[in-house]
């Protein structure tokens, strides 16, 4: 009985309620009105067409990161290095834009090449973490984290060194590109570009098709569940692991390229903005399902954008979004564990 759909939903919604109750208690403990804080977040994410567009702008890199992570998670890998892979995607994209901006190529072609370069950059950085894991025995979590810091340093060095603005280098990033090299947005004032939206949706569909309906997905799953058994069954194990890293890195690199070519139009120090780390949370919350990854990523993006106004309006720190997200993932994880424990106990007594 504990394994049917109804019970799953019951435990799931129970976990969400506990998470919300605890967040509410914490906000109240700081002497603030929780309802006012929530209203502010909702207002900040849906209050005007402009902020709603910002939610979609922020959904794109998050959905791309989550889609990529579904591959590495299926392969049993914790690709924490995704943050650096996004950064490298942004760096490669900037590099391509810089090298091609004064050539005879049409702006559309330049942007296309730059986005492809970004995907390549993310992929190479992911393969580095993958090679450290498969050939060097370095746990992908620590290899990936180390590479994240290296990517940040590389980014800063480029912004303050070779690619610095004419005159003085600054934390505001490199010199913006010419407007014809910006990905076209739906209107002049809006930051929302339709092409990245389509790309992110396509990434989720690709993840769904490959993981749910392909031979590759099935083999990758076998590798993730039990690499030893998969190897004995004749599945090329490390090749599948590297392939999942490469796919994840390509999606992450695409996210970085979008941030450069469609959102900031330049390289900035915190270009990856934590989307990779949040993507890991989204993937865990949806229990690695490609179906729910998109909507939950949208919800997380709305929380993030909605909380930006909190410090100004309520003198609350915008990290409240992260607190809600963290409690949600933690309690859904624990709720599921509790359900399975009760299930085991019940089966044991039968």
């Amino acid at each position: 009985m504990l394994d049917d759909r109804k019970t799953r939903i019951l435990f799931g919604s129970g976990s969400v309620l506990v998470a919300l109750a605890l967040t509410t208690a914490i906000v109240a403990a700081t002497g603030n009105n929780p309802l006012q804080a929530y209203a502010n977040i909702i207002q900040g994410a849906t209050g005007s067409p402009n902020v709603a567009a910002n939610v979609l702008v922020s959904w794109v890199p998050l959905a791309l990161a989550t889609a990529g992570l579904l591959f590495t998670f299926t392969g049993g890998l914790w690709n924490i290095g995704i943050e650096g892979q996004i950064t490298l995607g942004a760096i490669f994209c900037t590099w391509a834009l810089r090298s091609l901006q004064n050539t005879a190529l049409s702006p559309g072609a330049i942007i296309a090449v730059a986005v492809a370069a970004g995907m390549l950059g993310g992929m190479l950085w992911a393969l580095l973490a993958g090679a450290l894991k498969t050939f060097g025995g370095v746990n992908e979590i620590f290899g990936g984290l180390g590479l994240n810091f290296v990517a940040t340093a590389l980014n800063l060095w480029l912004i303050f060194g070779p690619w610095k603005r004419p005159g003085v280098a600054s934390m505001s990033g490199t010199l913006p590109f010419e407007p014809e090299l910006w990905m076209p947005t739906i209107s002049v004032q809006s930051r929302l570009a339709p092409v990245p939206l389509v790309l992110a949706a396509l990434a989720l569909v690709t993840a769904f098709i490959l993981l749910r309906g392909s031979h590759f997905g099935l083999r990758l799953k076998a590798v993730g569940k039990n690499p030893r058994a998969a190897y004995l069954l004749g599945i090329p194990t490390w090749q599948h692991m590297l392939l999942s890293f490469a796919l994840c890195g390509a999606f992450a690199g695409l996210a970085g390229a979008v941030q450069v070519s469609a959102v900031y139009h330049r390289l900035i120090p915190s270009i990856s903005s934590g989307y990779g780390y949040t993507g890991l949370m989204v993937a865990m919350l949806v229990n690695y399902s490609p179906v729910f990854a998109g909507p939950v990523a949208l919800f997380f993006a709305a929380l993030g954008v909605g909380s930006i106004q909190l410090p100004i309006v309520l003198k609350l720190d915008s990290s409240l979004a992260g607190v809600i997200q963290g409690f949600l993932v933690l309690f859904v994880l624990m709720g599921n564990g509790l359900r399975l424990k009760l299930l085991r106990r019940k089966r044991g007594t039968l």
């Binding site: 914490i26 340093a153 990290s319």
Partner: protein, 333 residues
């Protein structure tokens, strides 16, 4: 650089290693019991904020440290409950807690951000501190730095020379055998996870009340240190002295980054600050590569004398985690 400045700098390396040592040795204890606590990064931020807030509110440094230890123990309890009782992945729970505790620290710490607060003063040891060179290096510190020296010896002694310490090793290496020997594996794992969390939790107030006194929110410069601590634990091979070498080596590198800064004006300061990270990957590679199958295979092609030398180096560097690390234990399997 003058000799005095050098001595002063090295003495600073020892004191800035104190929080790292508490983190690494605390984690070593729970990992030896078979439970890895990946929440470290967020936990340290939360206990740094909480410890500072507690001591700001009460005016007592002792209560600040106590609060830090309590926060560490509480976070570890969640890890233990989720992984031992609910049998969830330790990596998943640890990662979520690392993110959650970090955001909680920033959220709850918002009102006390940048406030001036109490900080630990130096307590030079009378007599010993006036010894030339060694006096400045070892005996002009605050209480937490002295405690960090002691902790290295105490944890070594406990793990290697006492009966419960041997049992602790059994919990992580072969829980079944420990169970047959009469140990209540899961209860002991709970105990050591919480104890390790409390010790590592002290790292937070050591930062906020001593090494980097105060709470400055996102610019406290503490984000990331927990991940470093976890990798030093691997480098340390779950042995206290080796772990201590890792911690001191890391602080030394960070200090050298600061010292070398003026010599390289073209390199932004942020770049030198991350210099230890590629080295961290490299050391992890060195301690793990001996475990890789292809290394063994390619070594077998080498002439005997060369092979033996390389194998010796790899074995010396090699670190093998406790065999049952991360695996739940069930007595009726």
């Amino acid at each position: 650089m003058t000799n005095d400045a050098l001595l002063f700098g090295l003495s600073g390396v020892l004191s800035s290693s104190a929080p790292i040592l508490f983190g690494v040795l605390g984690e070593t204890i729970n990992e030896k019991a078979g439970v890895s606590n990946l929440a470290m990064n967020g936990m340290i931020l939360l206990s740094a904020m909480g410890g500072f807030a507690a001591s700001l509110a009460t005016g007592s440094l002792g209560l600040g440290f106590l609060a830090g230890a309590a926060i560490g123990a509480a976070v570890a309890l969640v890890v233990a409950f989720a992984s031992i009782t609910l049998k969830q992945s330790q990596v998943a729970v640890g990662y979520v807690l690392a993110m959650l505790c970090r955001d909680l620290a920033y959220f709850l710490g918002n009102p006390i951000m940048g406030m001036p607060g109490p900080r630990l003063t130096l307590s030079p040891i009378p007599g010993l501190s006036s010894i030339p060179v060694f006096g400045t290096l070892l005996f002009r510190h605050d209480v937490v730095t002295y405690s960090s020296f002691l902790l290295i010896f105490l944890s070594w002694f406990y793990m290697e020379r006492t009966k419960p310490g041997i049992m602790l090793k059994g919990l992580g290496e072969n829980p079944r055998a420990a169970y047959v020997r009469g140990a209540n594996v899961n209860r002991l794992r709970y105990l050591y996870t919480i104890a390790g969390g409390a010790i590592a939790g002290l790292a937070g107030p050591i930062y906020s009340l001593s090494v980097k006194a105060g709470w400055k929110g996102t610019i406290s410069g503490l984000d990331g240190i927990g991940w470093i601590i976890l990798s030093i634990t691997i480098f340390g091979g779950w042995r206290p002295f080796r772990a201590a070498i890792g911690a001191y080596f890391f602080s030394l590198l960070q200090w050298m980054g600061l010292v070398l800064q003026p010599l390289m004006p073209n390199v932004p300061s942020q770049v030198l600050q991350v210099a230890p990270f590629p080295l961290m990957i490299l050391t992890l590679l060195l301690v793990n590569i001996g475990n890789a199958e292809w290394v063994e295979r390619s070594l077998s092609h080498l002439p005997e004398s060369v092979r033996r030398d390389i194998a010796k180096v790899l074995t010396a560097l090699n670190a093998t985690p406790p065999a049952a690390l991360g695996q739940p234990f069930e007595k009726d399997e």
